[in-house]
Amino acid sequence: MSQQVIASTAKKARKLSAPEIAEIEHEMTLYPDKKAVGLEALKIVQKHQGWVSDESLLGIAKYLDIPVADLEGVATFFNLVYRQQVGKNVILFCDSVSCWIMGCEGIKGHIKEQLAIDYGETTEDGDFTLIPVPCLGDCDRAPVMMVGPDLHRNLTPEKIDSIIADYKNK
């Protein structure tokens, strides 16, 4: 029986793309309940779209026939679901305890200088968004950060410069 997941909304749902749907359908085979697939779908859509817009959120809710309010509750709970547009490269900057001891604040200051953005901000050219992340589990090589899926360790200001240059050129 279909749930009654009507929720009047001013915005329109985005129709999910075929590749998004294919991946969501695959996840459906792995979980016994479609609610579980909601979180998976958020990640899938984010992988394809870079972030989860209101329209995408509605699109997922509609596709899975789950309440959009619940899905929003989940989307806004998790650190790595972006409900605002982010840049091409998301810098997840570890500022937890070991990295802090190892001087991540200086490194952050350097990034801030180089990119002219603070936490939660995106560079004007849309290349980078800087977000803090709890301990990345690489404390023996602190300070560390991720850019997109890649981990960068033992950071120094010089290393930051070359990392930024690399991603800019990608």
Partner: protein, 426 residues
Amino acid sequence: MVANPLTKNIDMSRPPLDIAAYEANDGYQSLHAIAKGLSPDDVLELVKGSGLKGRGGAGFPTGLKWSFVPKGENSPAQKYLVVNADEMEPGTFKDRLLMEGDPHLLLEGMIIAAYTIQASKSYIFLRGEYTVSEKVLRNAIKEAYEKGYLGKNILGTGFDLDIIMHTSAGRYICGEETALLNALEGKRANPRAKPPFPQVSGLWGKPTIVNNVETICNLPGILTYGVDWYHGLTKGNDHGTKLFGVSGKVKTPGCWELPLGLPIRELLENYAGGMQDGLELKGFLPGGGSTDFMLPEHLDIALDYDEIAKVGSRLATGTMIVLDDRTCPVGMVGNLMKFFAHESCGFCTPCRDGLPWVDQIFRDFENGQGSEKDLQILHDHVTYLGPGRTFCALAPGATAPLGSGLKYFKEDFEKHITEKRCSYKH
């Protein structure tokens, strides 16, 4: 005999062993033992006998935990095994090593665990940021399916097992086993009340075992080399080896597999190379961000669950965070408080509203605006957020460095108030 069962195959300078190489080095032996007739109850007895304690932090005996799973005809047909690979505790970096270094060890352990509790489905709950672990594990899972070690009727035993990779979307609280279950179900990851325990009503209401990666990785050795061998690995009261890590300003930070019961000093001096030149040890958190500070005077204590508990701290994850004399202890605790405040799930009052206050106070201290009154409030919160008062162990975890920090580094706190600044800042 093997002395480092967890890391014997690990060499981070090359890719992890593929399934053939892993098998060539005693890998998947346990499956053949099972195929030859080792029953789930036999395995359970072995694991109980090994004395293996959970490596996820709480140190609960693994065999005992498994024995709570309902058995027999009237028990729910579907049971689940969940591997806790969320590793987000600040200063903890051990499970990553195992997953990136020797994925088949984890898979073999999972098959053993799932077989014991007769779970036909198992999820690896992997923190989303561990992209390399994900790739390595997915590849290993594929190999294991191809080999017939996963899937239907494994090695003709009639036992089926699917392993499903779940990557999380980032929240420390997901490491708490019941919050993890909610996250897996696609819900907000608030913890659940216990009882009922997951062993009875867990994932989708079905009996579920949640074990840490490292815990699971202990299993192949126990089955392959036996309980006596396992008992022989240690130097102290607890059995087996454990991954120990050191981070902070030591000469050679890192993570090593060592026998339980080794003195802390040996870890710090022999493996981590001692403090960096010119720095003195001021204190350390022995097992990640939610353990109590210990002092240089505690260095001769053994890395053993009970021994460390005697001085008021916990072995927990075994990854030690070192505080040197040039780093501000107030700043260090403040950093942890910011983490805990941010990672609170927001379900129960003391944690949700208490920790941000604590965090604010630390920010004020940092800026030279701390006061005696604030200090009192911090002290009050050590009790207020303590065990039994909050819904889960996150907030009590936060009180560990907070309470011990206030106790051991009292002067530093007071100095921040009297000097109206942090004197460690240049």
